[in-house]
């Protein structure tokens, strides 16, 4: 039972790390966004520290969106998706495994690079830890919500923009609770745990809704 999931996970991870895979592109984009912010905002250190968590979260959101359009389209283009649909494996689990591998390939590097990039934004150590933790918990939700958009736009040429338009509204709650939890960690009276638990809840909900909705969209995509 678990053998095919392992094989799928390994394949997806290999593909994202090898030539033509999207793993590095997301991190490089993230790096580019975060490094230009201090130049654009100016050398006001207090202001940078204030907007830092939000900037990191927006950067992570955009970097996640960047590679999502190929999540199912690459498999559709070369015929793999046809075989996956008739493989006799539950499509929802397939989507979940693909999302997991996609997140390990593109989302996890963002989480790991966030503490380094936080230094550009003059974040104090506590805030750096809070941002990294919220990204770790929240970015899987972005991938899982994005999978729905990727499945809906799988048959469209250059569906990447449409994907972003579809997915961004639904990822705003994740952004709101992610940023407010990171901010609450450093501002004294507001509690950290409340927005953080809501963020975790969003990830868990999208882990259920995302695969089910994406699988449904994929079943209708075939023609």
């Amino acid at each position: 039972m678990s053998g095919w999931m392992g094989a799928l996970f390994l394949r997806e991870l290999r593909l994202s790390l090898r030539v033509g895979g999207g793993a590095l592109i997301g991190v490089l984009f993230f790096l580019a966004v975060i490094t230009v912010i201090p130049f654009g905002v100016g050398p006001d250190l207090n202001l940078l520290a204030l907007i830092g968590p939000a900037v990191l979260w927006i950067g992570a959101l955009l970097a996640t969106l960047l590679g999502l359009d190929r999540l199912f389209q690459a498999d559709r283009d070369d015929g793999s998706l046809d075989l996956m649909l008739m493989a006799g494996r539950p499509l929802e689990v397939l989507v979940l495994v693909k999302c997991l591998a996609h997140w390990v390939g593109t989302g996890l590097p963002l989480v790991l690079s966030a503490p380094v990039l936080s230094i550009f934004l003059n974040l104090e150590p506590l805030a750096i830890g809070a941002v990294a933790l919220t990204l770790l918990v929240g970015t899987p939700a972005l991938t899982l919500i994005g999978a729905i958009g990727a499945a809906l736009t799988v048959s469209l040429r250059r569906g990447g923009l449409l994907l972003a338009v579809l997915v961004v509204p639904f990822s705003i709650p994740v952004l709101i609770f992610g940023v407010s939890a990171s901010g609450a960690a450093v501002t004294e009276p507001t509690p950290f745990l409340t927005p953080f638990l809501l963020l975790a809840a969003l990830t868990l909900i999208s882990a259920v809704v995302g695969p089910v909705a994406a699988a449904m969209a994929l079943r209708f995509s075939s023609d």
Binding site: L8, R11, L15, D78, L85, M86, G88
Partner: protein, 210 residues
């Protein structure tokens, strides 16, 4: 009771156009069916309907005496125009993935799937096992896609232009493999313009609606 592929009353619509209607076919275990006809008449559509990749506008497809847990499409290997290969993965990695990923159909004593290495040897591309699939020629890519049919046992093979891009030797090899599959009680439905290199083949000729 032997395994049978039965399709009744099949109609298919693509993009609002009726491709074929009221098509019926029955295929017994050990038999092959060649689907012929001019371009655009619906040969590929028929295969995709049988594979469960296109919903028929009407009609039903079932496998008699098959695995009740699986749909008709999940009894089938679909060998279409696309090779389903990832250029960044090596030949063996590509084949290993499909070996573990595809759920086997009914596996009885007569269904003996090959190991990936054996399948590559059978198709004459075992020397390229560690090469990235990006470096394969068109014919080698087709043969690697074909190897998928040998490593996972499924009773029905749906072949769309199976001999395209294959050289004469590979074509003969494909003929042997198809005969072996039929001898083991398998079924083959092939859309083709050529005569299939098999002893006994039924023919279903699709004609454009008048």
């Amino acid at each position: 009771m032997t395994m049978r592929l039965v399709a009744e009353n099949l109609s298919c619509e693509r993009g609002g156009r009726r491709v074929f209607s009221d098509l019926a076919l029955t295929l017994e275990a050990g038999r092959a069916l060649a689907v012929t006809g001019p371009n655009g008449v619906g040969k590929s559509s028929l295969l995709r309907v049988l594979a469960g990749l296109v919903q028929p506008a009407s009609g039903s497809i079932r496998i008699e005496d098959g695995d009740p847990e699986l749909s008709a499409g999940e009894h089938c290997h679909y060998y279409g125009h696309l090779d389903a290969l990832k250029p960044a993965l090596s030949v063996l990695e590509n084949l290993d993935f499909w070996t573990s990923f595809l759920a086997p159909g009914r596996t009885g004593a007569r269904w003996q799937p090959m190991t990936p290495i054996e399948a590559l040897e059978a198709l004459g591309i075992d020397h390229a096992g560690d090469l990235p699939a990006a470096y394969l020629s068109a014919g080698q890519r087709r043969r690697l896609a074909l190897a998928r049919l040998l490593v996972v046992a499924r009773p029905v093979w749906l072949l769309d232009e199976p001999t395209s891009a294959l050289d004469a030797a590979s074509e003969a090899r494909l003929g042997e493999l198809m005969s072996d599959h039929l001898a083991a009680g398998g079924m083959i439905v092939a859309a083709t313009h050529q005569t299939m290199p098999l002893a006994e083949v039924g023919t279903l000729r699709l004609e454009a609606p008048a």
